[in-house]
């Protein structure tokens, strides 16, 4: 095997593939990175039985071949390369990397037992990488992290014709985001539950792509995978199996009070108020008479008052939230103004972007903390 390519191309490709290498591999060879050179193309792959990563780049291939090398080592080397064309060749059981005046030698690993990567599942369509990454980030923030409640560690993906809906909840909040996409064939109706951490990492790593292909097997097929591909980079991840909560029923259909407030001002106020209070103290918000008053703590101990201008419509309401969850929602909205709607102080509040109050594409539902007094 022998090929040549630009430093930045190989460095990016290695960094992207090494991203998913397991840190504590269940089998040593899974810490390997597979290099395959064919017909002017170079393919790098990693796989740990849960997530696979594969990147395809153009290269000047002088001699095709296939080797497995230490992923961590190759990643370290690719960071040390000077800005010059890189030549990689196999000499016996060693790989030689030369780049300008630098040269490195890596041992090869036995490649025969390396597991074959899964194929991309059947149906697919496309969405701009930036749209996908933003939508996933907005939703993944609400996913649970407790593996004893595995279905809550996933993001529910629902594809119905031209619309994708993402949802995640850890029981304290629920984030739902809808966005359009371009399916390869119409009349699609599929659902899947994707591990949130993998989905978030993958979407972020493909954010720069003009188009990201999403691939999910039609309902009923048993290949249990979702695939993502953009600019020659492809990831598959195993799906979570199991029932995601029937979240649509949780979204309130009406409200008693609505409020609109400057997002940045509210975020800053929540930060300040919760900083001076004890950790994990709920932050209380009193919406009335054109302002929102913030206090941290409960009962008479409440302290650190602060008021903000706020347009309030409907009955006055006092409601308390976990400050971190409130801040998460406000940042995820990514909108200059925030629209909040309430039914009662014990029922969930819904946060939406002020600029899309009429038909929000993103909703962040937040359970209030019960006040003791």
């Amino acid at each position: 095997m022998k090929f040549r390519l630009e430093r930045d191309v190989i460095a990016d490709a290695v960094a992207w593939t090494a991203r998913t290498l397991p840190t504590r591999p269940s089998m040593p060879m899974l810490a390997g990175l597979l290099i395959e050179a064919t017909d002017q193309q170079l393919m790098l792959s990693s796989f740990d039985f849960e997530v696979s990563g594969r990147v395809l780049v153009n290269a000047d291939v002088m001699e095709p071949g296939r080797v497995l090398v230490s992923g961590r080592l190759l990643a370290d080397i690719s960071r040390l390369l000077p800005a010059a064309p890189v030549t990689i060749s196999v000499e016996g059981s060693r790989v030689e990397v030369t780049c300008g005046r630098s040269s490195f030698t890596l041992p090869t690993l036995p490649v025969d037992d390396y597991p074959s990567l899964p194929d991309m599942p059947g149906s697919s369509g496309t969405v701009p990488g930036s749209v996908f990454a933003h939508a996933v980030a907005q939703v993944a923030i609400a996913a649970g992290r407790d593996d004893t409640l595995p279905t809550l560690t996933g993001v529910r993906v629902e594809i119905l014709d031209n619309t994708i809906t993402l949802a995640a909840t850890d029981r304290y909040r629920l984030a739902v985001r809808e966005f359009p996409w371009t399916p390869a064939n119409t009349s699609l109706d599929v659902q899947a539950l994707v591990p949130a951490r993998t989905l978030a990492d993958t979407a972020k790593s493909l954010a720069g792509c003009d188009e990201v292909h999403l691939a999910l097997a039609a309902s009923g097929a048993s290949d249990g995978l979702m695939g993502f591909e953009g600019d020659g980079r492809r990831t598959t991840t195993r799906l979570l199996d199991g029932e995601f909560p029937k979240y649509r029923a949780l979204l309130p259909s009406e409200s008693a009070t609505t409020a609109t407030v400057d997002t940045a001002a509210l975020v800053e106020a929540v930060k300040r108020v919760s900083l001076v209070a004890e950790r994990n103290t709920p932050v209380r918000l009193m919406f009335a008479d054109g302002e929102v008053e913030l206090r941290a703590g409960t009962g008479d101990e409440a302290q650190a008052n602060e008021s903000l201008e706020c347009s309030v419509d409907g009955a006055a309401i006092e409601i308390a939230f976990n400050p971190q969850y409130l801040q998460d929602g406000l940042s995820a909205l990514d909108d200059a103004t925030t629209h909040l709607s309430f039914t009662t102080a014990t029922r969930p509040a819904v946060l939406t972007g002020g600029s899309q109050a009429s038909s929000p594409s993103y909703r962040y539902l937040l359970m209030p903390v019960r006040l003791s007094s």
Binding site: P28, S70, D76, F104, L109, P150
Partner: protein, 410 residues
């Protein structure tokens, strides 16, 4: 359909009833996965049986049969992947420590929620399910009771009583019998081509432990070690000789464990080094130890635990062999018409039998059982065996308990 004689269940020796049950489960599995009610297939199994009866063989056979399109042919790609521990839908878990760790259970809960990717089922084989402690085990209950639709748990343990009741009650229990001497001997002849006389000796001497029978049938050193152990009852003399015999035994076992573990450790160390790029050259590269820091530490811990386990298994084997010897003594003393485990030592056994009475023999067997418990409680091996040899020499000391207490605490 697969020829039953050559499929994955063929490796189980002397377990016809269990094989029939597991084959039926595998045959019914596709229908069960499609949502049809099934009596033969279920999502949580507990396979128990004495050491060496083939618990993990049975568990892996069922796992293979569930992911093989033809119920465990033993030759297709799926079957080969399981055999090489590289099937994406079969996870074989051996606890790293004395107990399952919380982190191991958490990782399992995550994996167990994942859908199968190339088969109908995602199968988890858990060895040593008796090492699931209450806290860790209970965190897994929900998944074992009501796993995600494609997940199957196959737990292995010496006996159902050793497993948390909460887990036990959620599993279908399959019990392996101690395979008969005839079945083990026949298995040795057919699978290893061992000479029938040797096979018969090994089957008898192993007392139904298949792995042990294989070793005795094929490994001269294992046979010699066993002979050394069985000579102990004949050589017990004054206190000094008892202590020396105990020291010899423990030393031999440690040396054997080293002989067995050193090459394995070295091979795994080399494989791990290779994977983290040992031998790489170039300016600015850190050392392999640094790249693989966590992985090396994990491996060394694993090696230590493996060695401890090998030592313990060998010591336990010595005790089993000695129990077999005194059982033979008792058979002679009582004039029972039972086949001797150590038929080739009949003259020596008769000598011991005529020099003592059955109650003493029973006390000696008690002392052996007690030693076993001491080892399980991590009492240092030398202390436990010194106490043992002294008691074997004069079993009347055991009833007072004096020797045991002195030696163990001293």
């Amino acid at each position: 359909m697969t020829n039953p004689a050559e499929d994955v269940f063929g490796e189980l020796i002397g377990q016809d009833a269990v094989v029939a049950q597991l084959r039926a489960a595998a045959a019914d599995a596709p229908a069960a996965r499609a949502g049809q009610p099934s009596t033969a297939m279920t999502h949580a199994w507990l396979i128990t049986g004495p050491p060496g009866s083939g618990r993990s063989t049975a568990a892996l056979a069922l796992a293979t049969a569930l992911v093989c399109p033809t119920g465990g042919c033993g030759t297709c790609e799926e079957c080969m992947l399981v055999r090489h521990s590289s099937h994406a839908d079969v996870e074989h878990v051996i606890p790293e420590g004395v107990d399952y760790l919380r982190a191991e259970a958490d990782a399992l809960m995550h994996s167990a929620a994942l859908a199968p990717t190339r088969s109908l089922w995602h199968v988890f084989v858990l060895e040593d399910a008796d090492r699931l402690t209450e806290v860790v085990g209970n965190s897994m209950l929900k998944s074992i009771e009501e796993p995600t639709p494609g997940t199957v748990w196959i737990l292995c343990a010496p006996s159902a009583q050793d497993v948390l009741p909460t887990i036990r009650s959620r599993c279908r229990h399959v019990t392996l019998a101690t395979p008969s001497t005839t079945a083990v001997a026949a298995g040795l002849v057919s699978s290893l081509g061992v000479d029938p006389a040797m096979a018969s000796f090994a089957a008898r001497a192993s007392q139904g432990h298949i792995g042990r029978a294989r070793a005795l049938a094929t490994d001269e050193a294992a046979r010699l070690r066993r002979q050394d152990v069985l000579r102990i009852p004949l050589q017990l003399g004054d206190l000094g000789s008892c202590l020396a015999l105990a020291a010899d035994l423990v030393e031999t076992v440690n040396a054997d464990a080293a002989a067995m573990c050193d090459p394995l450790d070295a091979r795994e160390d080399a494989a791990l080094r290779a994977v983290y790029g040992d031998g790489a050259q170039g300016k600015g590269l850190g050392t392999v130890e640094r790249r693989a820091k966590g992985a090396f530490k994990d491996m060394q811990e694993r090696h230590k635990r493996r060695r401890r386990r090998v030592v313990r298994d060998q010591l336990d084997r010595a005790i089993v062999d000695l129990i077999g010897f005194y059982r033979d003594v008792l058979v002679i003393q009582l004039g029972a018409h039972t086949e001797l485990v150590n038929a080739e030592m009949r003259p020596q056994i008769e000598r011991v039998a005529s020099a003592s009475q059955p109650p003493e023999t029973l006390l000696r067997v008690d002392a052996l059982e007690r030693t076993r418990n001491l080892l399980a409680a991590n009492v240092p091996a030398l202390l436990a065996f010194e106490s043992l040899t002294v008691t074997l020499k004069d079993p009347s000391l055991a009833s007072s308990g004096a020797v045991r207490r002195d030696r163990v605490t001293g």
